[in-house]
């Protein structure tokens, strides 16, 4: 069952044939990432189109990450942090709030539907909340279709 | 109190319910799909809140709690043959209190609809005729008409019982509370069109054979 570069490859089990929406989600380590883990522990199903990138605080979310994510092929981006007042780092999420606000206008300027960027607050106990967010976003992106960036 | 448990009820082979029971189950599940929160049925912990909150459970042969248990056991037909669902006065006390937030009253409505569609009733038990008479009244006049409703109901079910109501009727008559002629709505045509269209959405009506209804007479067996 081990494989190294020297052994011949099997045919991959999965091959991409049609468009699958790709959504990346930046989740803060303390509330939202733990909340998403809780959804897992509770087996609350959510859409596999969403993949999570862990950051320590939603305040770490550099606006360029979002722009670059779209450029790299993401169809949607979620940013999720602790509820206002609950930030592990006191007030990082307020900074995020302001940044996402500006970002939405910015990406609209690029011709990207601002609905492709979503900011939510998910606490460590809100696994169902996270699952709902992921599902709603996936549904939204499916209805918007693939993102075609103007170069 | 009749005995509940038919030892032969439920699965006949591992994981297999009899066909009739399967069909009833499917019909029931389809019905509860249309009830908001109908799926909460699965959350029943059999605590008996419904039975104990029910003002008429003492007169039932199967308690409301057992309704859910019998559905689970695959004994819906037996359930439909009980008086229980027809005694329900739809007072919603069980629904209000259920700790699992199950819409019990609405489930019982669903069972009544299935019973009428499938023509499965308790023996000598014509209560569903009341509902049917009521709806016919509405189709005919657009409004309900108490005297006509009762007359028709008793004539179709238990004519001799009418005699017992003479005293009541007289008292109400004396106090000006009986209306002899039905009141009709003006635009009956419109209402009938609405009903006709709406009927197409309800489950296919296998009308209850007339014979089945008229043959069933009498309901003296109710007691504590």
């Amino acid at each position: 069952m081990t494989l190294t570069t020297e052994t011949p490859l099997r045919e991959p089990a999965v091959l991409e044939t049609e468009w699958r929406p790709r959504i990346v989600a930046f989740l803060c380590n303390w509330c939202s990432y733990t909340g998403a883990d809780l959804a897992g522990i509770s087996r609350i199903q959510w859409d596999p189109a969403v993949s999570i990138v862990r950051i320590m605080c939603s305040g770490r979310m550099d606006p360029t990450f979002v722009v670059k994510a779209f450029r790299m092929g993401a169809d949607g981006v979620i940013v999720s942090g602790c509820h206002p007042g609950d930030c592990h780092y006191q007030e990082g999420n307020y900074k995020t709030l302001r940044r996402v606000h500006l970002l939405k206008r910015l990406i609209a300027g690029f011709g990207i539907d601002p609905g492709r960027l979503r900011l939510v607050w998910v606490s460590a106990s809100e696994g169902d909340q996270w699952a709902a967010t992921a599902n709603e976003m996936a549904a939204e992106i499916r209805s918007l279709g693939p993102l075609r960036m103007e170069s | 109190m009749t005995t509940l448990a038919n030892p032969m009820a439920g699965p006949t082979a591992p994981g297999v319910l009899p066909k009739s029971e399967r069909d009833l189950r499917a019909a029931f599940l389809k019905e509860i799909e249309r009830i908001p929160g109908g799926g909460r049925l699965n959350q029943c912990i059999q605590c008996g809140t419904c039975t104990a909150s029910c003002p008429v459970s003492y007169a039932m042969d199967i308690t409301p709690r057992q309704v859910i248990a019998m559905f689970r056991a695959g004994a819906i037909e037996e359930l439909l043959r009980s008086r229980t669902i027809w005694i329900c006065a739809s007072c919603y006390h069980c629904t209000l209190r259920c700790p699992a937030q199950i819409q019990i009253t609405d489930l019982i409505y669903a069972l009544k609809r299935i019973a009428i569609e499938e023509g499965i009733f308790p023996k000598k038990f014509p209560v569903h005729v009341m509902s049917e008479t009521f709806t016919n009244n509405v189709k005919r006049y657009g409004r309900n008409y108490e005297v006509g409703l009762l007359l028709r109901y008793f004539l179709r079910t238990h004519p001799t019982k009418l005699f017992a109501y003479r005293k009541v009727g007289l008292a109400l008559w004396r106090h000006g509370r009986i209306r002899i002629r039905p009141s009709k709505i003006d635009n009956l045509e419109q209402l009938r069109k609405i009903i006709a269209k709406a009927e197409t959405f309800d489950l296919p009506q296998e009308t209850v054979p007339k014979a089945k209804v008229t043959a069933a007479v009498g309901y003296e067996s109710i007691g504590r």
């Binding site: - | 008429v56 009521f134 409004r143 108490e146 419109q190």
Partner: protein, 304 residues
């Protein structure tokens, strides 16, 4: 002067519940609110319809909502069953898009359409919130001091919607109202227990049992009348006065509508509120209130 309401009397208020109809009209007029009967209303379908066909039940009721939207006023439905059916339809259609589209197409067959914009309300709630206890007290002309009502709410105005009272298990709004008007409501634990009115024809024994229990509670609690909010409850309990006693005790007690008692307090005559339709005459009187005590101020004689 005040708000206008669309009045949905329902079938009973034109027959056994005639006193309810009379007293509704009398007190709303007295209080300066207008009740306009919904033109060409049809039966709400009550709960019987729900047992037979679900979509039809909703469609039949929805016709009334569609008709009511012509004026857009709140619909006031005094009968608990009508109140429930109208409200259940209004909320059920709003929550269930599939059902809504089916009902919409049924209504369309009759050339109607509903936006579900009118509110469905019970007169008890209208009197308590739109008019308010303070105004009722201000309008009071007759004393209710002799009345010891057992306030009976029954089922469908408190359940399942609970829009009429804060606590569906222990509503107190009628008690508060009638205490404010000087009556002395009794403590009446079974006030939300079903009267079995639905079962009068189909299971008379059961209905009788439940009705008797309610009457016995009232009599044992030393009430001199039962006050109801629903024509079905009123009839069922009133009929206890006719039937022979089966447990060797008297079940005679007047059964009123809450609107009748309000009417008496604000100066309607007993006839105006339909007291003559009750099977047992009400022995307590509502004498006129004595004038208020002389005002505190004395105005100096004016000379010019």
């Amino acid at each position: 002067m005040d708000k206008r309401y669309t009045y949905y009397p329902g079938c009973s208020l034109h027959a056994t519940g005639i006193a309810y109809d009379k007293s509704m009209r009398a007190i709303f007029t007295k209080l300066g609110s207008e009740l306009v009967e919904l033109d060409d209303w049809n039966c709400c379908g009550a709960t019987a319809y729900m047992s037979v066909q679900k979509t039809v039940a909703f469609a039949v009721t929805a016709r009334n909502l569609a008709l009511a939207e012509k004026t857009g006023d709140d619909v006031v439905a005094p009968c608990s069953a009508c109140y429930y059916a109208l409200k259940h339809t209004s909320e059920g259609l709003a929550d269930n898009p599939e059902l809504r589209s089916q009902v919409d197409s049924a209504l369309a067959a009759g050339g109607l359409k509903t936006q579900l914009t009118v509110a469905v309300r019970h007169p008890l709630e209208v009197l308590l919130t739109d008019i308010g206890i303070d105004r009722l007290v201000a309008a009071q002309t007759h004393s209710l001091a002799e009345f010891r009502p057992a306030c009976y709410y029954g089922c469908q105005i408190v359940r399942p919607f609970g829009a009429v009272d804060e606590d569906p298990e222990l509503p107190m709004s009628m008690e508060r109202l009638f205490s404010a008007l000087g009556a002395r409501p009794i403590d009446y634990p079974p006030k939300v227990r079903c009267c079995g009115g639905m079962l009068v024809a189909t299971f008379p024994e059961v209905a009788d049992e439940l009705g008797k229990d309610l009457v016995d509670w009232a009599i044992d609690g030393e009430a001199n009348c039962i006050v109801t909010v629903c024509p079905l409850c009123q009839s069922n309990l009133d009929l206890m006065n006719v039937n022979e006693s089966s447990n060797g005790r008297s079940h005679r007690i007047p059964v009123l509508y809450f609107t009748q008692l309000i009417g008496l307090a604000i100066g309607c005559t007993p006839d105006e509120v339909g007291m003559q339709h009750g099977l047992v005459p009400m022995s307590a009187n509502a004498p006129p209130l004595p004038n208020n005590e002389a005002p505190l101020t004395i105005t100096g004689a004016r000379e010019s």
